[in-house]
Symmetry: C2
Subunit: 137 residues, 2 copies
Amino acid sequence: MAEGATAVTSKPTYSISDLAREFSITTRAIRFYEDKGMLSPARRGQTRVYRPEDRVRLKLILRGKRLGLSLEESAEIINMYDPAHGNVEQIQRLLDSIRTKRARLQEQLQDIHALMAELDEAEARCLENLSTESLNK
Amino acid sequence: MAEGATAVTSKPTYSISDLAREFSITTRAIRFYEDKGMLSPARRGQTRVYRPEDRVRLKLILRGKRLGLSLEESAEIINMYDPAHGNVEQIQRLLDSIRTKRARLQEQLQDIHALMAELDEAEARCLENLSTESLNK
DNA sequence: CTTGACGTTTACGTTAACGTAAACTTTTGC
DNA sequence: GCAAAAGTTTACGTTAACGTAAACGTCAAG
């Protein structure tokens, strides 16, 4: 089961270690995300069978991690993609959390730009030091 | 000691709770950062006295947190601001880690833009649902 | 037919980043 | 001058996010 494709015409499936390899994580982590209700792969007997939608969800989880989100926060975001969300109040609260997330992302953008500028300076100082260092030889 | 300024002409100082209030964290957290070697405020007797440089360091720590960095990663970045870094090898390794950090920040930028786009879509779907919902009344 | 690669569940261990509490001293407002 | 507020150290508790290990099933290859 090196490649998960059953037929080129149908949707591909993946084993747990396929996904683990692709994203450089452990199978333990993937099962952990399932325990947390963030993944619910199909089963062939006992064995987990992942479909493209599961793979996308996993990608979203990992993107969240790269952004420093907790699994719970990622779960919240992923649930935003869901079909319908019942009543008006629920939708309002969803809108709220969307806007809150956006605000936090804006903050992160500022932080990243600031930090990048400082990395530039630090790099410049390094190069400076390297050149003066070579003069001492 | 409501305001930390001893004299307007000299550099201001801050108590631990001044900083805790300003950044909405606990004094426990601040002492914890000190335990980790990330802060080393002056002392007046037993009492910690923070100077502007300490405050800046704290800001850098918190910015790191917003970006999902571990305290260790933040410490590494903060140390990049230090005066001289000895020999050429050290500087080379510093340059390496600067470039690695930059790459990770670029990743984060991509992730943020992607996520923001998806938040836009999610918001649109919400508003859509709200309008169709109101028709059902 | 057994070995090895892959899968499963269950459960205890670990690390980071603090929270919480106790027990005590020091400073400050009135 | 004394209670309340703020400071200190020491130490155990907690949560998230897995790691690690045990103990077992399954199936294709040699």
